[in-house]
Amino acid sequence: MSMPKGDGYVIGFAAVICVACSVLLSAAASTLKAKQDYNVELDRKMNVLKAFGVATRDANGKAISGAEVERIFRENIKEVILDGATGQPLEGVTSADVSAKELADRVKLPLYTFEENGQVVKYAFPVSGKGLWSTIYGYLALNQDLATIAGVTFYKHGETPGLGGEVEKDWFQENFKGKRIFGEGVLIPFEVVKGTVADKYPQGNDHAVDGISGATITGKGVTKFINSDLANYEKYFSLKRGT
Protein backbone atom coordinates (compact mmCIF):
# COMPACT_ATOMS: atom_id res chain seq x y z
CA MET A 1 0.00 0.00 0.00
CA SER A 2 2.69 2.46 -0.92
CA MET A 3 1.54 4.94 -3.54
CA PRO A 4 -1.87 5.09 -5.23
CA LYS A 5 -1.98 2.93 -8.30
CA GLY A 6 -3.66 3.49 -11.65
CA ASP A 7 -6.90 1.82 -12.75
CA GLY A 8 -5.09 -0.39 -15.23
CA TYR A 9 -2.85 -1.75 -12.49
CA VAL A 10 -5.84 -2.44 -10.21
CA ILE A 11 -7.71 -4.35 -12.89
CA GLY A 12 -4.60 -6.24 -13.92
CA PHE A 13 -3.79 -7.17 -10.34
CA ALA A 14 -7.35 -8.39 -9.73
CA ALA A 15 -7.22 -10.47 -12.90
CA VAL A 16 -3.93 -12.13 -11.91
CA ILE A 17 -5.27 -12.99 -8.44
CA CYS A 18 -8.47 -14.44 -9.88
CA VAL A 19 -6.68 -16.59 -12.40
CA ALA A 20 -4.13 -17.81 -9.87
CA CYS A 21 -6.85 -18.75 -7.36
CA SER A 22 -9.01 -20.51 -9.93
CA VAL A 23 -6.13 -22.50 -11.39
CA LEU A 24 -5.16 -23.65 -7.92
CA LEU A 25 -8.73 -24.65 -7.05
CA SER A 26 -9.40 -26.47 -10.31
CA ALA A 27 -6.17 -28.39 -9.93
CA ALA A 28 -7.07 -29.40 -6.37
CA ALA A 29 -10.64 -30.31 -7.30
CA SER A 30 -9.63 -32.55 -10.20
CA THR A 31 -6.84 -34.27 -8.26
CA LEU A 32 -9.05 -35.02 -5.27
CA LYS A 33 -12.23 -35.91 -7.16
CA ALA A 34 -11.59 -39.65 -7.43
CA LYS A 35 -10.90 -39.94 -3.72
CA GLN A 36 -13.97 -37.87 -2.80
CA ASP A 37 -16.26 -39.87 -5.09
CA TYR A 38 -14.95 -43.05 -3.52
CA ASN A 39 -15.82 -41.70 -0.06
CA VAL A 40 -19.34 -40.78 -1.13
CA GLU A 41 -19.85 -44.23 -2.68
CA LEU A 42 -18.46 -45.93 0.43
CA ASP A 43 -20.76 -43.87 2.61
CA ARG A 44 -23.73 -44.95 0.48
CA LYS A 45 -22.77 -48.61 0.78
CA MET A 46 -22.19 -48.20 4.51
CA ASN A 47 -25.76 -46.96 4.78
CA VAL A 48 -27.15 -49.92 2.87
CA LEU A 49 -25.37 -52.12 5.43
CA LYS A 50 -26.71 -50.04 8.29
CA ALA A 51 -30.28 -50.41 6.99
CA PHE A 52 -29.73 -54.19 6.82
CA GLY A 53 -28.74 -54.08 10.49
CA VAL A 54 -25.06 -54.96 9.89
CA ALA A 55 -22.86 -53.34 12.54
CA THR A 56 -20.94 -50.59 10.71
CA ARG A 57 -19.07 -49.43 13.80
CA ASP A 58 -17.02 -51.43 16.27
CA ALA A 59 -17.39 -51.21 20.05
CA ASN A 60 -15.30 -48.01 20.16
CA GLY A 61 -17.49 -46.30 17.60
CA LYS A 62 -14.86 -46.57 14.87
CA ALA A 63 -16.29 -47.16 11.40
CA ILE A 64 -15.42 -50.45 9.70
CA SER A 65 -12.90 -50.28 6.87
CA GLY A 66 -13.71 -49.76 3.22
CA ALA A 67 -12.33 -53.20 2.39
CA GLU A 68 -14.67 -54.78 4.94
CA VAL A 69 -17.66 -52.97 3.45
CA GLU A 70 -16.69 -54.20 -0.03
CA ARG A 71 -16.28 -57.75 1.29
CA ILE A 72 -19.76 -57.84 2.86
CA PHE A 73 -21.19 -56.38 -0.31
CA ARG A 74 -19.49 -59.03 -2.42
CA GLU A 75 -20.40 -61.98 -0.22
CA ASN A 76 -23.87 -61.18 1.10
CA ILE A 77 -25.49 -58.52 -0.99
CA LYS A 78 -26.96 -58.75 -4.45
CA GLU A 79 -28.39 -55.91 -6.43
CA VAL A 80 -31.24 -56.11 -8.91
CA ILE A 81 -32.76 -53.27 -10.89
CA LEU A 82 -36.54 -53.33 -11.21
CA ASP A 83 -38.61 -51.75 -13.91
CA GLY A 84 -40.58 -48.90 -12.31
CA ALA A 85 -43.74 -49.51 -14.32
CA THR A 86 -44.07 -53.28 -14.01
CA GLY A 87 -41.97 -54.11 -10.97
CA GLN A 88 -40.20 -56.83 -12.96
CA PRO A 89 -36.43 -57.31 -12.58
CA LEU A 90 -34.47 -56.05 -15.58
CA GLU A 91 -32.03 -58.71 -16.72
CA GLY A 92 -28.44 -57.64 -17.25
CA VAL A 93 -28.93 -54.10 -15.91
CA THR A 94 -26.66 -52.93 -13.09
CA SER A 95 -26.65 -49.74 -11.07
CA ALA A 96 -23.92 -48.40 -13.38
CA ASP A 97 -26.50 -48.29 -16.20
CA VAL A 98 -29.05 -46.31 -14.21
CA SER A 99 -28.91 -42.53 -14.55
CA ALA A 100 -29.61 -40.16 -11.66
CA LYS A 101 -32.72 -38.98 -13.48
CA GLU A 102 -34.11 -42.49 -13.88
CA LEU A 103 -33.56 -42.97 -10.14
CA ALA A 104 -35.22 -39.69 -9.22
CA ASP A 105 -38.20 -40.35 -11.50
CA ARG A 106 -38.52 -43.94 -10.21
CA VAL A 107 -38.29 -45.28 -13.77
CA LYS A 108 -35.78 -47.84 -12.54
CA LEU A 109 -35.76 -49.11 -9.00
CA PRO A 110 -32.63 -50.58 -7.42
CA LEU A 111 -33.21 -53.30 -4.87
CA TYR A 112 -30.62 -54.91 -2.61
CA THR A 113 -31.06 -58.38 -1.15
CA PHE A 114 -29.14 -59.64 1.83
CA GLU A 115 -28.41 -63.36 1.62
CA GLU A 116 -27.35 -65.83 4.24
CA ASN A 117 -26.54 -69.40 3.13
CA GLY A 118 -28.08 -68.75 -0.26
CA GLN A 119 -31.37 -67.59 1.26
CA VAL A 120 -32.63 -64.04 0.91
CA VAL A 121 -33.28 -62.81 4.46
CA LYS A 122 -33.74 -59.07 3.95
CA TYR A 123 -34.55 -56.56 1.22
CA ALA A 124 -33.43 -52.93 1.09
CA PHE A 125 -34.11 -50.09 -1.29
CA PRO A 126 -33.43 -46.35 -1.47
CA VAL A 127 -36.09 -43.94 -0.24
CA SER A 128 -35.99 -40.21 -0.78
CA GLY A 129 -38.23 -37.18 -0.79
CA LYS A 130 -38.77 -33.66 0.42
CA GLY A 131 -38.46 -32.76 4.08
CA LEU A 132 -38.80 -29.12 5.08
CA TRP A 133 -35.78 -27.55 3.36
CA SER A 134 -34.20 -30.33 1.41
CA THR A 135 -34.45 -33.73 -0.15
CA ILE A 136 -33.79 -36.45 2.42
CA TYR A 137 -32.05 -39.61 1.18
CA GLY A 138 -32.07 -42.94 2.95
CA TYR A 139 -32.49 -46.69 2.74
CA LEU A 140 -35.34 -48.80 4.05
CA ALA A 141 -34.85 -52.52 4.72
CA LEU A 142 -37.66 -55.05 5.08
CA ASN A 143 -37.52 -58.49 6.66
CA GLN A 144 -38.02 -61.72 4.71
CA ASP A 145 -41.80 -61.53 5.31
CA LEU A 146 -41.86 -58.22 3.35
CA ALA A 147 -44.25 -56.93 5.99
CA THR A 148 -42.03 -55.62 8.78
CA ILE A 149 -39.24 -53.07 8.73
CA ALA A 150 -35.75 -54.44 9.39
CA GLY A 151 -34.06 -51.05 9.57
CA VAL A 152 -33.83 -47.59 8.11
CA THR A 153 -31.14 -44.96 7.58
CA PHE A 154 -31.27 -41.35 6.49
CA TYR A 155 -27.83 -40.23 5.49
CA LYS A 156 -28.07 -37.15 3.33
CA HIS A 157 -30.26 -34.14 4.04
CA GLY A 158 -30.18 -30.39 4.58
CA GLU A 159 -32.66 -30.16 7.44
CA THR A 160 -32.07 -27.92 10.47
CA PRO A 161 -29.44 -29.47 12.75
CA GLY A 162 -31.03 -30.37 16.09
CA LEU A 163 -34.58 -30.30 14.68
CA GLY A 164 -35.29 -31.98 11.32
CA GLY A 165 -31.62 -32.97 11.21
CA GLU A 166 -32.39 -35.51 13.95
CA VAL A 167 -33.60 -37.89 11.20
CA GLU A 168 -29.97 -38.96 10.85
CA LYS A 169 -29.75 -39.90 14.53
CA ASP A 170 -29.95 -43.45 15.83
CA TRP A 171 -32.74 -42.78 18.33
CA PHE A 172 -35.10 -41.81 15.51
CA GLN A 173 -34.06 -44.61 13.15
CA GLU A 174 -34.14 -47.32 15.84
CA ASN A 175 -37.89 -46.74 16.31
CA PHE A 176 -38.59 -47.97 12.79
CA LYS A 177 -37.35 -51.49 13.48
CA GLY A 178 -40.09 -54.11 13.60
CA LYS A 179 -42.87 -51.75 12.50
CA ARG A 180 -45.52 -53.29 10.26
CA ILE A 181 -46.12 -51.94 6.76
CA PHE A 182 -48.20 -54.80 5.32
CA GLY A 183 -51.08 -56.79 6.71
CA GLU A 184 -54.22 -58.61 5.53
CA GLY A 185 -53.18 -58.37 1.91
CA VAL A 186 -52.66 -54.61 1.70
CA LEU A 187 -49.99 -52.03 2.47
CA ILE A 188 -50.61 -50.31 5.78
CA PRO A 189 -49.84 -46.57 5.61
CA PHE A 190 -46.78 -45.89 7.71
CA GLU A 191 -46.72 -42.75 9.84
CA VAL A 192 -44.24 -40.51 11.60
CA VAL A 193 -46.63 -38.96 14.12
CA LYS A 194 -46.56 -35.44 15.50
CA GLY A 195 -45.49 -35.92 19.11
CA THR A 196 -45.32 -39.47 20.40
CA VAL A 197 -47.14 -42.63 19.33
CA ALA A 198 -48.24 -43.18 22.95
CA ASP A 199 -50.03 -39.80 22.97
CA LYS A 200 -51.73 -40.14 19.61
CA TYR A 201 -52.62 -43.84 19.81
CA PRO A 202 -53.03 -44.73 23.52
CA GLN A 203 -54.07 -48.26 22.53
CA GLY A 204 -50.78 -48.73 20.67
CA ASN A 205 -49.95 -48.72 16.98
CA ASP A 206 -47.40 -50.91 15.25
CA HIS A 207 -47.14 -48.90 12.06
CA ALA A 208 -46.21 -45.50 13.52
CA VAL A 209 -43.09 -44.03 15.11
CA ASP A 210 -42.48 -41.06 17.41
CA GLY A 211 -41.96 -37.76 15.63
CA ILE A 212 -39.22 -35.23 16.25
CA SER A 213 -40.33 -32.29 18.31
CA GLY A 214 -39.91 -29.06 16.39
CA ALA A 215 -39.77 -30.92 13.08
CA THR A 216 -43.38 -31.72 12.21
CA ILE A 217 -42.97 -30.92 8.52
CA THR A 218 -39.84 -33.04 8.21
CA GLY A 219 -41.81 -35.89 9.78
CA LYS A 220 -44.69 -35.41 7.35
CA GLY A 221 -42.22 -35.49 4.48
CA VAL A 222 -40.70 -38.75 5.73
CA THR A 223 -44.20 -40.26 6.09
CA LYS A 224 -45.08 -39.23 2.56
CA PHE A 225 -41.99 -40.48 0.74
CA ILE A 226 -41.73 -43.75 2.68
CA ASN A 227 -45.31 -44.60 1.74
CA SER A 228 -44.87 -43.61 -1.88
CA ASP A 229 -41.62 -45.57 -2.24
CA LEU A 230 -43.20 -48.60 -0.54
CA ALA A 231 -46.01 -48.41 -3.09
CA ASN A 232 -43.46 -48.32 -5.95
CA TYR A 233 -41.75 -51.48 -4.76
CA GLU A 234 -45.03 -53.18 -3.86
CA LYS A 235 -45.44 -54.27 -7.53
CA TYR A 236 -42.39 -56.47 -7.09
CA PHE A 237 -42.99 -57.44 -3.46
CA SER A 238 -46.56 -58.62 -4.16
CA LEU A 239 -45.16 -61.10 -6.71
CA LYS A 240 -42.62 -62.28 -4.15
CA ARG A 241 -45.19 -62.79 -1.44
CA GLY A 242 -47.41 -64.75 -3.84
CA THR A 243 -44.84 -67.49 -4.30
Binding site: M1, P4, F13, I17, L24, A28, K35, V40, L42, P161
Partner: protein, 201 residues
Amino acid sequence: MANNLKKTIVDPLSDNNPVTIQILGICSALAVTTKVDTAIVMSVSLTAVTAFSNLIISLMRNMIPGRIRIIVELAVVSTLVILADQLLKAYMFDISRQLSVFVGLIITNCIVLGRLEAFALGNKPLPSLLDGLGNGLGYSAVLVAVASMREILGFGTWHGIQLMPAGYQGNGLMLLAPGAFFGLGLLIWAQRQIIKKFETA
Protein backbone atom coordinates in the same frame (compact mmCIF):
# COMPACT_ATOMS: atom_id res chain seq x y z
CA MET B 1 14.15 -9.15 17.15
CA ALA B 2 14.02 -12.75 18.32
CA ASN B 3 12.12 -11.57 21.35
CA ASN B 4 9.65 -9.74 19.19
CA LEU B 5 9.00 -12.82 17.10
CA LYS B 6 8.42 -14.88 20.19
CA LYS B 7 5.98 -12.30 21.49
CA THR B 8 4.13 -12.38 18.15
CA ILE B 9 3.39 -16.06 18.54
CA VAL B 10 2.94 -16.28 22.34
CA ASP B 11 0.82 -13.19 22.87
CA PRO B 12 -2.33 -14.49 21.16
CA LEU B 13 -2.16 -17.73 23.14
CA SER B 14 -3.16 -16.02 26.35
CA ASP B 15 -2.75 -12.27 26.93
CA ASN B 16 -4.30 -11.35 23.63
CA ASN B 17 -6.29 -14.49 22.84
CA PRO B 18 -8.55 -13.93 19.83
CA VAL B 19 -11.49 -15.78 21.41
CA THR B 20 -11.40 -15.08 25.13
CA ILE B 21 -9.94 -11.56 25.02
CA GLN B 22 -10.98 -10.18 21.65
CA ILE B 23 -14.22 -12.24 21.55
CA LEU B 24 -13.81 -13.20 17.89
CA GLY B 25 -14.73 -16.47 16.21
CA ILE B 26 -17.39 -17.27 18.81
CA CYS B 27 -19.85 -18.80 16.34
CA SER B 28 -17.67 -21.73 15.35
CA ALA B 29 -16.35 -22.05 18.91
CA LEU B 30 -19.93 -22.79 19.97
CA ALA B 31 -20.86 -24.97 17.03
CA VAL B 32 -18.08 -27.49 16.56
CA THR B 33 -17.16 -28.16 20.17
CA THR B 34 -19.40 -31.09 21.10
CA LYS B 35 -16.52 -33.48 20.52
CA VAL B 36 -12.75 -33.09 20.80
CA ASP B 37 -12.16 -34.75 17.41
CA THR B 38 -14.14 -32.20 15.45
CA ALA B 39 -12.68 -29.34 17.50
CA ILE B 40 -9.13 -30.45 16.68
CA VAL B 41 -9.77 -30.76 12.96
CA MET B 42 -11.51 -27.40 12.92
CA SER B 43 -8.57 -25.88 14.85
CA VAL B 44 -5.99 -27.28 12.45
CA SER B 45 -7.99 -26.02 9.46
CA LEU B 46 -8.37 -22.53 10.89
CA THR B 47 -4.73 -22.32 12.00
CA ALA B 48 -3.55 -23.34 8.53
CA VAL B 49 -5.84 -20.83 6.84
CA THR B 50 -4.85 -17.97 9.16
CA ALA B 51 -1.13 -18.70 8.92
CA PHE B 52 -0.98 -19.10 5.15
CA SER B 53 -3.33 -16.23 4.31
CA ASN B 54 -1.21 -13.99 6.56
CA LEU B 55 1.92 -15.17 4.77
CA ILE B 56 0.52 -14.73 1.26
CA ILE B 57 -0.98 -11.30 1.91
CA SER B 58 2.22 -10.17 3.60
CA LEU B 59 4.28 -11.26 0.59
CA MET B 60 2.02 -9.20 -1.67
CA ARG B 61 1.51 -6.30 0.74
CA ASN B 62 3.40 -3.77 -1.38
CA MET B 63 1.63 -4.81 -4.56
CA ILE B 64 -1.98 -4.92 -3.39
CA PRO B 65 -3.88 -1.79 -4.48
CA GLY B 66 -5.46 -0.25 -1.37
CA ARG B 67 -8.81 0.19 -3.08
CA ILE B 68 -9.41 -3.52 -3.64
CA ARG B 69 -7.45 -4.95 -0.73
CA ILE B 70 -10.45 -6.51 1.07
CA ILE B 71 -11.51 -8.25 -2.13
CA VAL B 72 -8.00 -9.59 -2.66
CA GLU B 73 -7.84 -10.76 0.96
CA LEU B 74 -11.17 -12.54 0.63
CA ALA B 75 -10.12 -14.21 -2.62
CA VAL B 76 -7.00 -15.57 -0.96
CA VAL B 77 -8.84 -16.66 2.20
CA SER B 78 -11.66 -18.37 0.33
CA THR B 79 -9.24 -20.21 -1.92
CA LEU B 80 -7.43 -21.56 1.12
CA VAL B 81 -10.69 -22.47 2.85
CA ILE B 82 -12.04 -24.34 -0.17
CA LEU B 83 -8.72 -26.17 -0.42
CA ALA B 84 -8.98 -27.20 3.24
CA ASP B 85 -12.58 -28.31 2.74
CA GLN B 86 -11.68 -30.37 -0.35
CA LEU B 87 -8.81 -32.05 1.47
CA LEU B 88 -11.06 -32.94 4.41
CA LYS B 89 -13.69 -34.38 2.05
CA ALA B 90 -11.02 -36.53 0.43
CA TYR B 91 -9.12 -37.71 3.47
CA MET B 92 -11.36 -37.26 6.55
CA PHE B 93 -14.84 -37.80 5.16
CA ASP B 94 -16.47 -38.68 8.47
CA ILE B 95 -15.21 -35.60 10.28
CA SER B 96 -15.86 -33.33 7.33
CA ARG B 97 -19.50 -34.46 7.47
CA GLN B 98 -19.71 -33.57 11.17
CA LEU B 99 -18.12 -30.16 10.59
CA SER B 100 -20.56 -29.61 7.70
CA VAL B 101 -20.76 -25.92 6.83
CA PHE B 102 -18.36 -24.71 9.48
CA VAL B 103 -15.17 -25.31 7.52
CA GLY B 104 -16.64 -23.22 4.72
CA LEU B 105 -17.56 -20.56 7.23
CA ILE B 106 -13.89 -20.04 8.17
CA ILE B 107 -14.07 -17.51 5.32
CA THR B 108 -16.26 -15.33 7.50
CA ASN B 109 -14.30 -15.94 10.69
CA CYS B 110 -13.36 -12.50 12.03
CA ILE B 111 -10.00 -13.78 13.26
CA VAL B 112 -8.73 -14.43 9.73
CA LEU B 113 -9.67 -11.12 8.15
CA GLY B 114 -8.81 -9.33 11.40
CA ARG B 115 -5.22 -10.57 11.34
CA LEU B 116 -4.81 -9.74 7.66
CA GLU B 117 -5.98 -6.17 8.17
CA ALA B 118 -4.28 -5.58 11.49
CA PHE B 119 -1.01 -7.37 10.92
CA ALA B 120 -0.17 -8.92 7.55
CA LEU B 121 -0.70 -5.72 5.53
CA GLY B 122 1.96 -3.88 7.55
CA ASN B 123 4.50 -6.56 8.46
CA LYS B 124 7.15 -8.75 6.87
CA PRO B 125 6.29 -12.35 5.83
CA LEU B 126 7.96 -14.21 8.72
CA PRO B 127 6.35 -12.25 11.57
CA SER B 128 3.02 -12.45 9.67
CA LEU B 129 3.25 -16.22 9.38
CA LEU B 130 4.00 -16.47 13.10
CA ASP B 131 1.20 -14.07 13.95
CA GLY B 132 -1.26 -16.19 11.98
CA LEU B 133 0.06 -19.34 13.61
CA GLY B 134 -0.17 -17.81 17.09
CA ASN B 135 -3.71 -16.60 16.63
CA GLY B 136 -4.75 -19.92 15.12
CA LEU B 137 -3.25 -21.75 18.08
CA GLY B 138 -4.90 -19.35 20.53
CA TYR B 139 -8.24 -20.15 18.91
CA SER B 140 -7.39 -23.86 18.96
CA ALA B 141 -6.57 -23.82 22.67
CA VAL B 142 -9.97 -22.36 23.50
CA LEU B 143 -11.80 -24.73 21.15
CA VAL B 144 -10.14 -27.82 22.55
CA ALA B 145 -10.72 -26.64 26.15
CA VAL B 146 -14.43 -26.04 25.55
CA ALA B 147 -14.78 -29.28 23.57
CA SER B 148 -13.04 -31.28 26.32
CA MET B 149 -15.44 -29.96 28.92
CA ARG B 150 -18.48 -30.62 26.72
CA GLU B 151 -17.42 -34.08 25.61
CA ILE B 152 -16.47 -35.24 29.11
CA LEU B 153 -19.67 -33.98 30.73
CA GLY B 154 -21.92 -34.68 27.76
CA PHE B 155 -20.70 -38.10 26.61
CA GLY B 156 -18.39 -39.17 29.45
CA THR B 157 -15.54 -39.58 26.98
CA TRP B 158 -12.51 -37.60 25.81
CA HIS B 159 -11.33 -38.02 22.25
CA GLY B 160 -13.47 -41.16 22.20
CA ILE B 161 -11.80 -42.64 25.30
CA GLN B 162 -14.19 -43.55 28.12
CA LEU B 163 -13.33 -41.40 31.15
CA MET B 164 -16.41 -41.44 33.32
CA PRO B 165 -17.37 -44.68 35.10
CA ALA B 166 -19.65 -47.02 33.18
CA GLY B 167 -23.30 -46.08 33.51
CA TYR B 168 -22.51 -42.35 33.54
CA GLN B 169 -25.57 -40.50 32.33
CA GLY B 170 -24.42 -37.89 29.80
CA ASN B 171 -25.50 -34.33 30.48
CA GLY B 172 -27.53 -33.41 27.41
CA LEU B 173 -27.38 -29.69 28.19
CA MET B 174 -23.64 -29.71 27.59
CA LEU B 175 -24.18 -30.93 24.03
CA LEU B 176 -26.60 -28.16 23.15
CA ALA B 177 -25.70 -24.54 22.44
CA PRO B 178 -26.34 -23.34 26.05
CA GLY B 179 -23.67 -25.74 27.32
CA ALA B 180 -21.17 -24.11 24.97
CA PHE B 181 -22.20 -20.63 26.11
CA PHE B 182 -21.76 -21.55 29.78
CA GLY B 183 -18.44 -23.24 29.10
CA LEU B 184 -17.05 -20.40 27.04
CA GLY B 185 -18.33 -17.81 29.50
CA LEU B 186 -16.66 -19.55 32.42
CA LEU B 187 -13.44 -19.84 30.45
CA ILE B 188 -13.42 -16.13 29.56
CA TRP B 189 -14.09 -15.22 33.20
CA ALA B 190 -11.39 -17.55 34.50
CA GLN B 191 -8.79 -16.34 32.06
CA ARG B 192 -9.46 -12.68 32.65
CA GLN B 193 -9.22 -13.27 36.40
CA ILE B 194 -5.85 -14.91 35.97
CA ILE B 195 -4.26 -12.35 33.67
CA LYS B 196 -6.10 -9.46 35.38
CA LYS B 197 -7.54 -7.98 32.27
CA PHE B 198 -10.79 -6.13 32.74
CA GLU B 199 -12.93 -3.97 30.52
CA THR B 200 -12.87 -0.35 31.59
CA ALA B 201 -16.51 0.55 31.49
